[in-house]
């Protein structure tokens, strides 16, 4: 039996070769996998889909874009992307565990990063390592002249952009990260040591990057960036913005919180309580599963956001 996964971590043959030859399906691993699968489903259905609804309201159908609606929209989109993809990755890893495969971890709380370098160590980790091992190092990596290293970096990030789609905005998005990483490595290595500020600046650039990612049309992209900074908008905020914020206030708080290791830390503590831990784990699993099924009832199809990449 082999799970056919169309989304999730990039798995190399060497990582599953042993399992393909001889799998060990154990009840312990099945339980772990089931638990991770349901948590991943929860991320996708309970967080990403609702964040996506907010994005639709603020971007796709917004009649009067404002500065606040543009910012709020791209922030929700950042959460939608993260919980969508990390949710699916958890589901894929969980499913693998249930069937006796060990798939690599793909996300490690990327939104707590304090530098762009750290962000890419935490975001879509299997993609980063794939490009590192198959493109960057064969090109010479950083064991070469500075100019060659600059070129290698830009090639890798241009290809990373292209990997996400055959559209110029993805190329621009890749090059954007290439430039950011070069500047950071050459001039701002010390910046990540400044708490809070380094986190804010990192998130600022990451969120800007998702703006490039979202708008495949260059004129729309240009208009969007103008709006972020007050050009071509209908004021600072409007009814749509206020409504979107109020309607999703607790969702936003939940997304912020779930982007940190805190909920997982608390969850792990709770389920490790002797003799009742597994009851708590089972209760959370059942509630989350029922909530997901209920939420999906009557909802329109909400496919995986990362499918197109």
């Amino acid at each position: 039996m082999f799970p056919q996964l169309i989304a999730g971590p990039i798995v190399r043959y060497s990582e599953v070769a042993k399992s393909l030859d001889k799998r060990h399906v154990t009840l312990d691993a099945f339980a772990d996998g089931a638990s991770q699968f349901v948590l991943g489903l929860g991320k996708k259905v309970m967080l990403a889909n609702f964040a996506g609804d907010a994005v639709d309201l603020l971007f796709a159908a917004s009649t009067h874009p404002t500065v606040a609606s543009s910012w709020l929209g791209i922030i929700f989109y950042s959460f939608q992307l993260y919980f969508d993809f990390s949710g699916y990755s958890d589901m894929a890893i969980g499913m693998g565990k249930m069937l006796g495969f060990a798939f690599p971890k793909n996300f490690n709380y990327p939104y707590i990063s304090r530098s762009i370098t750290e962000f890419w160590r935490r975001w879509h980790m299997t993609l980063s390592s794939f490009f590192r091992d198959y493109i960057y190092i064969p090109l010479g990596g950083n064991r070469c002249s500075k100019w060659r290293w600059l070129l290698n970096t830009m090639i890798v990030w241009m290809l990373t952009g292209l990997w996400h789609g055959a559209s110029w905005n993805f190329v621009l998005w890749g090059l954007y990260y290439g430039v950011l990483l070069i500047i950071e490595k050459l001039l701002f290595k010390w910046w990540s040591k400044i708490p809070v500020l380094s986190h804010i600046t990192t998130m600022f650039f990451v969120v800007m990057g998702w703006g490039i990612f979202y708008f495949t049309d260059f004129s729309q992209l240009q208009t969007f960036f103008g709006r972020l900074f007050g050009v071509g908008v209908n004021g600072l905020y409007d009814l749509t913005t206020v409504s979107a914020l109020y309607s999703n206030l607790w969702l936003l708080c939940a997304c912020v919180l779930a982007s940190t290791p805190l909920p997982n830390y608390i969850y792990k503590k709770l389920i490790s309580i002797k003799s009742i831990g597994f009851i708590i784990e089972g209760g959370i699993m059942a509630l989350l599963f029922i909530a997901c099924i209920a939420t999906l009832t009557g909802a329109t199809s909400n496919p995986f956001l990362y499918f197109r990449f």
């Binding site: 089931a34 159908a61 979107a244 309607s247 059942a286 099924i293």
Partner: protein, 399 residues
């Protein structure tokens, strides 16, 4: 112990969700939305390739799940936990809107004061195309046929300015279309009538549906009579009839975010003096039915907007034998006209109603066949933002 409990629980949850899909569909929750449950789509290569099979199957699964109503209640409850809304403050949600032509526009709904209302998004190019379409029709139809255009605003336009101004101005959109029309097309100023009436009357539109009601449509009739220079029949000539309560078509789109909205009365006005004088037939069914409560014109089997003619029909022919020397009016319309037509039938020898979304014939031939004296296009302002609706209207004359 943990591994047994978690494994068993997970498998039990999977099994339970499978059972939900195998249980008979909970059709009550769907009927409450005034629609029939989706049926299993027929698979074909073309439907698979264009994605319609996938989306229709998705809709089928969504409708055919046991305990659907209960699950949706849970879903609504969960959704309500995601945000906070101060009392008395409306909210805006995103959706799509369509006029039954196949195209869908991104849209927004305002949820305010127990009402769900579509927000108007102006599309000047399409609105200009709509005006151009009517001008072309004016050129095609014989000169002796008078032509009228009625564009109807929606309820949001007359709401609290905080919400009304969140959308593009429907007043400006209507005027921009009217200003582009040929001088040989008489415009019907239903906007002013509804604006004045909305100062004193609460219910000219349904609260959870995008249509006007019979009372709102009466102002359309008054405005049309004014444009023609005729005197409208007073409303007091008609008997008021209620036909149950309903949730409108917008309710399904917003039900998870609106709390406390009650189903609303559906009503119509019936002219008791017209018994026996008025008869109608639909192109698809040749049977002639007389003006009566329960006839297709007042289709009391339907407890919603379908009470008017049972919905949209390709061609309806309504004959008033009390007016053998009267004029014949041809209406090219969207569903807004359905509530308006019962007010018009007493004034004409014949009212011919054509829906461009489903009528496949040649309107030029119908004009000749019925000896049409007047043509009126009746659309709500949103219709002017749908490119393919313009094509459908013009297509009626280019067979």
């Amino acid at each position: 112990m943990r591994k047994y409990v978690i494994t068993f629980l997970f498998l039990a949850l999977l099994a339970a969700s499978t059972v939900l899909f195998m249980r008979p569909a909970d059709t009550e929750s769907i009927l409450a939305e005034n629609r029939q449950p989706k049926t299993l789509p027929v698979f074909s290569l073309s439907s698979a390739l264009d994605g319609s099979f996938e989306s229709e199957f998705d809709e089928y699964v969504n409708d055919n799940i046991g305990c659907r109503g209960r699950l949706m209640e849970i879903s609504d409850k969960i959704h309500s936990f995601y945000g906070y809304m101060p009392e008395g403050v409306g909210r805006i949600i995103s959706t799509t809107s369509d006029v039954g032509t196949g195209a869908a526009n991104d849209s927004q709904l305002v949820l305010y004061d127990d009402s769900i209302m579509e927000m108007f998004i102006s599309r000047p190019q399409t609105q200009a195309k709509y005006a151009d379409t009517l001008n072309k029709i004016r050129d095609i139809v014989p000169d002796n046929v008078k032509m009228y255009s009625m564009l109807i605003p929606t309820r949001l336009e007359f709401c609290d300015p905080v919400y009304a101004h969140a959308q593009d101005s429907q007043y400006n959109a209507i005027n921009s279309v009217y200003n582009l029309l040929s001088p040989d097309i008489t415009t019907v100023d239903v906007y002013s009538k509804l604006q004045n009436a909305s100062q004193t009357e609460d219910y000219l539109y349904y609260l959870t549906d995008h249509h006007w009601n019979a009372d709102g449509a009466y102002y359309g009739y008054e405005a049309f009579s004014l444009a023609k220079g005729a005197a409208p029949m007073p409303k007091s000539n008609y008997a008021y009839r209620e036909n149950g309560t309903f949730y409108g078509s917008l309710y399904q789109k917003a039900r998870s975010q609106i709390v406390g909205t009650q189903p609303q009365d559906i009503c119509f006005y019936y002219d008791t003096a017209s018994d026996g004088n008025i008869s109608m037939k639909m192109r698809a069914e040749d049977a002639v039915t007389e003006y009566a409560v329960g006839s297709p014109m007042f289709h009391t089997e339907h407890g919603d907007y379908l009470v008017f003619f049972g919905g949209d029909n390709p061609l309806m022919e309504i004959t008033n034998s009390a007016k053998p020397d009267g004029d014949t009016l041809l209406i090219i319309k969207d569903s807004y006209a359905n509530a308006l037509i019962p007010w018009l039938v007493n004034d004409y020898k014949q009212v011919i109603v054509i829906d461009p979304r489903s009528f496949g014939g040649d309107v030029n031939a119908e004009i000749e066949r019925y000896g049409v004296d007047e043509i009126m296009t009746v659309n709500y302002i949103f219709t002017t933002t749908f490119d393919d609706m313009c094509d459908s209207i013009l297509g009626l004359f280019n067979k």
